[in-house]
């Protein structure tokens, strides 16, 4: 019998405690936590009150190292194919054409001053597949492939999620390929490769000629 009344008693007290907590939150609803980023000093300055951020209008900033949309700065890309090989899910497709000697100047240098030796007619990233693990950007020697902080880029069509970063049109690529063939014919001894040896399981890349 005593347990019966104790249960009723504790039931009432705990329910009232709980209601007190929710009521306190209800009255705290006039305060709002701001949109300070985690790296700002006032991040924890407001601990009570509403925490909702009205996203399209306000958002807390994404940290600098945030890994979201994958972006390739094709001007800096040397077509080394390391990212495609490192990607655990093969969401990067690269085709490269070796630059002929006379074109080296046209092809230009990376911002780091490295001579680019490959045209990259196809550099497709399927961001719909990408799992933002960051392995590709870690291996990139010129740091041209990186994840941006942009995360909101939904699309109506799946095809729009395949990003093309290639720096040549199809026609241009065709002509470059022809040019390379000609040069090869004229100079039979191939030069040593300017990049690390590809692993045997490297995919359909055409750079290992």
């Amino acid at each position: 019998m005593s347990e019966y009344f104790r249960d009723i008693g504790s039931g009432i007290t705990t329910i009232l405690t709980g209601m007190g907590i929710t009521l306190r939150h209800f009255f705290n609803a006039v305060k709002r936590k701001g949109d300070a980023g985690i790296d700002e000093d006032n991040y924890f300055s407001q601990v009570d009150g509403l925490v909702t951020l009205q996203y399209p209008r306000e958002a807390i900033p994404t940290p600098e190292i945030g890994r979201y949309r994958l972006y390739n700065d094709i001007d800096d890309c040397i077509g080394c194919n390391q990212c495609a090989r490192a990607c655990p899910i093969d969401c990067i497709a690269i085709e490269t054409i070796k630059v002929t000697k006379d074109d080296l100047a046209v092809c230009g240098k990376t911002s780091g001053g490295q001579q680019k030796r490959f045209w990259v007619p196809v550099f497709d990233i399927d961001v719909a597949q990408c799992m933002t693990c960051g392995i590709c950007s870690a291996v990139c020697p010129t740091e041209c492939l990186y994840h941006t902080q942009v995360s909101d880029f939904s699309e109506f069509s799946r095809d729009n999620l395949i990003y093309h970063f290639g720096n040549l049109t199809k026609l241009e690529a065709e002509s470059k390929r022809k040019k390379l063939e000609e040069e090869k014919k004229s100079a039979p001894a191939p030069k040593p490769k300017p990049k690390p040896k590809p692993a045997p399981e490297a995919g359909s890349d055409k750079d290992s000629m």
């Binding site: 249960d7 504790s10 039931g11 705990t14 329910i15 405690t17 709980g18 907590i21 929710t22 985690i38 790296d39 991040y43 924890f44 601990v47 925490v51 807390i60 994404t62 940290p63 190292i65 945030g66 890994r67 490192a86 655990p88 799992m131 933002t132 693990c133 960051g134 392995i135 870690a138 994840h147």
Partner: protein, 400 residues
Amino acid sequence: MQELEKAEYSSVRVTPKGEDRVIIEKDLSSEEMILNMGPQHPSTHGVLRLECKTDGEVVIEAEPYLGYLHRCFEKHAEMVDYPGVVPFVDRMDYLASMNNDFAFCIAVEKLLDIEIPRRVEFIRVIVSELNRIASHLVAIGTYAIDLGAFTPFLFCFRDREHILNLLEWTSGARMLYNYILIGGVAYDLPQGFKKRTLEFVKYFRPKALELQKLLTENEIFVKRTKGIGMMPAEVAINYGWSGPMLRGSGVDWDLRKEDAYSIYPELDFKVCVPDGKSSDIGDSLSRHLVRAMEMEQSLDIVEQCLEMMPEEEGFDPKAAIPKRIRPKAGEVYGRAENPRGELGFYIQSDGKSTKPLRCKARSSCFVNLSAMKELSLGQLIPDLVAIIGSIDIVLGEVDR
């Protein structure tokens, strides 16, 4: 050959408070009904499916069906090289990616036999303990939803958001971090991380207390969970339970103490075992209490680590990462304490390839869930929900 004595297991069905249980009256015979719970059901925490045979509200038998989220982790582990496995490991127990990575890296590092810089160990422990808190917050929050309380769930997620922000600041992703790499971590801690984390600890302690008052001490919550889903310690061990589930049954067993991996032996924390006063040892409430207590312990660990962590200027957390990860031939079973229990990786390497020959993940939820059939015998449907919630499954880890 002698068979296992069934009598040992009959204790599962007995609950100490007999009066609360529903006794099926035999003269009121009713038809059994097959009730299909899931895979899309609010309380199955994902895509678990339970086929329940019910008699009125009483579940006579509940058979779990898995595989609705079977994502072929083990196949992928055999197909991609060691660093590439880590993102897939992340996606196994998606609530505690850091801890998953930690367990996997421990296993591979055992095989590689490499020395980890001391600061890296500290960073790993800090992030995985933070993630443990986040994971337990989800567990507690969804448990509250299962029992019908919506507000604690949102409070849990609100506090979890701070942890996610901290971890995103550190690792660059919100949930699936790929941060703990084999032999190191991806980035050093950001500037001001220590200060912010200490602020978080200061912020979180009163919030945890509030959560306790709002949910854990609530009489209705206690009534719903106390004495439900009893699991005696012996049976729990035989089922292979681990983590908070096993500790809820009163077994003082924590891999952080037992295996003493990383820098845990240097830290001062206690293994949380229910005291048996507010709950019956082995019931759903005990498991919930263990989780709540572990959050406190994790806060302590984080504080200690931040104190003890060696500060190094220009520290390169990737320094110890081998250029090419190709372990020598051998087998290893490495494990770590996940928020849900023991997460072990059995890895076989042939010494030639950069890919594991075999990588089996011993997932804690998978093992914990296997007791579901026995736990659900003769329970009411609401209790069934309470039991599933207390097991705290993550289907990604169950099905892998």
